[in-house]
């Protein structure tokens, strides 16, 4: 069984709103050196989903990522969890793409990889939250797809997927090869193992430039966009929090209840 997992390196989404700044002239999020880069958490869930399949079946897991100046410790992290190889679409020509440009380049890379049974992605990247690349790639590759998986089991050329839906989940069968996007309900990603860490040190990512996947740089990244970003800005917060103070916490709790009653909220 051959699995490709698409992952994205992003600014740490746990960064508190106060520390997050944008450059309004370039419509970019500032990334000071103090801020760490991580894999988008939903993509880590996707790597975990692949590993759970590998726990049961003989399996090769290829990690595919796109960007420029990617941090090796970030994109190689899935190797520590048990993935087998990393392919990077890494070039400045890939920078600044939207869902369309990104899906197109990833789909081209997947065509070059050629032999696969399953493609896994996170449900959305926790930076732009666009939520389209996975399903978009499936359209471009003309393969069936399911979004928001919380469980994936593979058998006899098929996958049975629990898909999160209104008030619960549905159980859906899909023929392979297929693409599945994974949601956080699948469960926490495993930690790297010592064996994995050692293996990851020895492995270097394979890097593909646009010409390696049969694309012209004018079709990738910023030049390949369909969506134009007009403005990136921080929302204005209004109002101030009134802190209910008292001699002790119990008293503060009682005052809070009284205050809410006074303003007829309870």
């Amino acid at each position: 069984m051959k699995i490709i997992v698409c992952v994205k390196e992003i600014l740490d989404p746990e960064l508190p709103p106060e520390a997050f700044e944008v450059d309004p002239n370039r419509n970019l999020a500032l990334c000071p050196e103090s801020v760490s880069h991580v894999l988008s958490p939903f993509d880590e869930n996707a790597v975990e989903a692949a590993m759970r399949i590998k726990d049961l079946h003989e399996c090769k897991i290829t990690i595919l990522s796109l960007g420029n100046n990617l941090h090796r410790e970030v994109v190689k992290n899935p190797l520590t969890m048990g993935a087998d190889e990393v392919v990077l679409l890494e070039d400045e020509a890939y920078e600044g793409g939207d869902s369309w440009a990104t899906a197109r380049a990833l789909a081209q890379a997947i065509k070059r990889i050629g032999d696969y049974d399953l493609i896994l992605c996170g449900r959305q990247a926790a930076d732009w939250d666009a939520g389209q690349v996975g399903l978009g790639m499936a359209e471009m590759l003309s393969i069936p797809s399911i979004s928001l998986a919380r469980k994936i089991e593979v058998m006899n050329g098929k996958a049975v997927v629990e898909r999160v839906c209104e008030g619960g989940y549905e159980i859906v069968e899909i023929a392979l090869p297929a693409l599945i996007t994974v949601s956080n309900e699948l469960g926490q990603p495993r930690y790297g193992t010592l064996e994995g860490v050692l293996a990851s040190v020895a492995k270097q990512p394979i890097v593909w430039k646009p010409e390696d996947i049969g694309m012209d740089p004018s079709e990738t990244g910023e030049s390949g966009r369909k969506l134009k970003l007009l403005k990136l800005f921080k929302p204005v917060r209004e109002g101030e929090c009134e802190i209910v103070e008292a001699e002790n916490p119990q008293e503060a709790a009682r005052s809070l209840a009284v205050r809410l009653r006074e303003v007829k909220i309870i």
């Binding site: 939250d129 209104e166 989940y169 069968e173 956080n184 369909k226 929302p235 303003v263």
Partner: protein, 332 residues
């Protein structure tokens, strides 16, 4: 652009009636159509949905297309995609809006890539640019820490709309409109997925999305046991319990009560945030609440920037005292 005209929304059904997000789509779609001097078209896909067209017309639609077939009872990507394409063979809108629902976020990207057009998911603001007449689509990004405004020149201009972010259309039963049936001509053997079953994780008490009071807990609650205390307060206030993704990922509560960007969107009158820092991913699901009250032992927690009222201290001491006082107030 020549040929592309009008604003189209894809409606959804909830218990035989048009759903709340559909009324919001109709409200927002009508506003955009009026600004363009064009018409509002609603589409419904499902089975035995003949009553929906009339309802949608009363809620501002000028024309309603219905695709009705037994295979369309519940959402499934392939048959819904084909149904939508059938409608678009008859009418190619300038703007196409869906709800940011389980259906919308699955169907919209597939459709956009098929039509080779640009889509923005989870929009909280939509407007027409005065000069270019293009659709301006604003959505939260970076988990809500920033907003981004997009435009595109491919048609239809597509977006999904976050629930409770737009003004719902007003009902006017006297309104007239056109109703058009579209044949799906589906071939079930071409569907590439098969739904084997559905599991509903029943919520007890008040539905989270409908609750007027939500008591939500986060990482600070620390255990499933801790959430029992939140449940007690919720019960006293006839409300529902919600949670952050961290609390759900730790399995202290079922994932069905997750509030936030990838969970449920709620807008109760009162939102009591207990032991949660107020990450923007979480606030994305509750920022429309009437009054936010924060209980947290960290005075620098971001939630105090979002809340109207707050108490700084250990929730384990504050919550029981608060619950008792609320009971007392109710009894007196």
């Amino acid at each position: 652009m020549a040929g592309y005209k009008n604003v189209m929304i894809l409606g959804e059904v909830s218990e035989g009636r048009i759903s709340p997000i559909t009324k919001e789509l109709l409200g927002c779609g009508k506003r955009l159509a009026t600004d363009l001097g064009e018409e509002l078209i609603a589409v419904f896909i499902g089975h035995e949905i003949s009553t929906l067209a009339k309802q949608a017309i009363a809620f501002a639609a000028d024309t309603v297309y219905s695709v009705d077939a037994p295979f369309l009872q519940d959402y499934e990507a392939d048959p819904y995609l084909v149904s939508m394409q059938r409608v678009l063979e008859q009418e190619m809108p300038r703007i196409l809006l869906l709800g940011q629902t389980f259906m919308g976020q699955d169907l919209a990207p597939r459709l956009a890539f098929k039509l080779k057009t640009a889509l923005v998911l989870d929009c909280v603001d939509l407007s027409i640019a005065p000069e270019t007449k293009l659709l301006l689509r604003t959505k939260p990004v970076y988990g809500g820490k920033a907003l981004a405004c997009f435009t595109s020149e491919s048609y239809p201009q597509m977006a999904t709309v976050r629930s409770k972010s737009m003004q719902a259309a007003e009902r006017a039963d006297s309104k007239k409109g056109k109703m058009i049936q579209v044949k799906a001509n589906l071939d079930p053997s071409s569907f590439r997925t098969k739904i084997l079953g559905r599991v509903t994780e029943k919520e007890e008490g008040v539905r989270l999305e409908d609750a007027e009071v939500v008591v939500a807990g986060g990482r600070g609650i620390g255990s499933a046991e801790g959430f029992k205390q939140l449940e007690e307060l919720a019960k006293t206030l006839k409300g529902a319990v919600g949670a952050t993704r961290a609390a759900c990922d730790n399995e202290w509560v079922p994932t069905t009560v997750q509030i936030g960007l990838t969970g449920k969107i709620v807008a109760p009158k009162l939102y009591i945030a207990v032991g949660l820092s107020g990450s923007s991913q979480h606030m994305a699901g509750c920022s429309g609440s009437g009054t936010i009250v924060a209980i947290n032992n960290d005075s620098r927690a971001h939630i105090f920037k979002e809340a109207k009222l707050g108490v700084i201290g250990d929730w384990k001491i504050i919550l029981p005292a608060f619950t008792r006082k609320v009971l007392e107030i109710f009894e007196s």
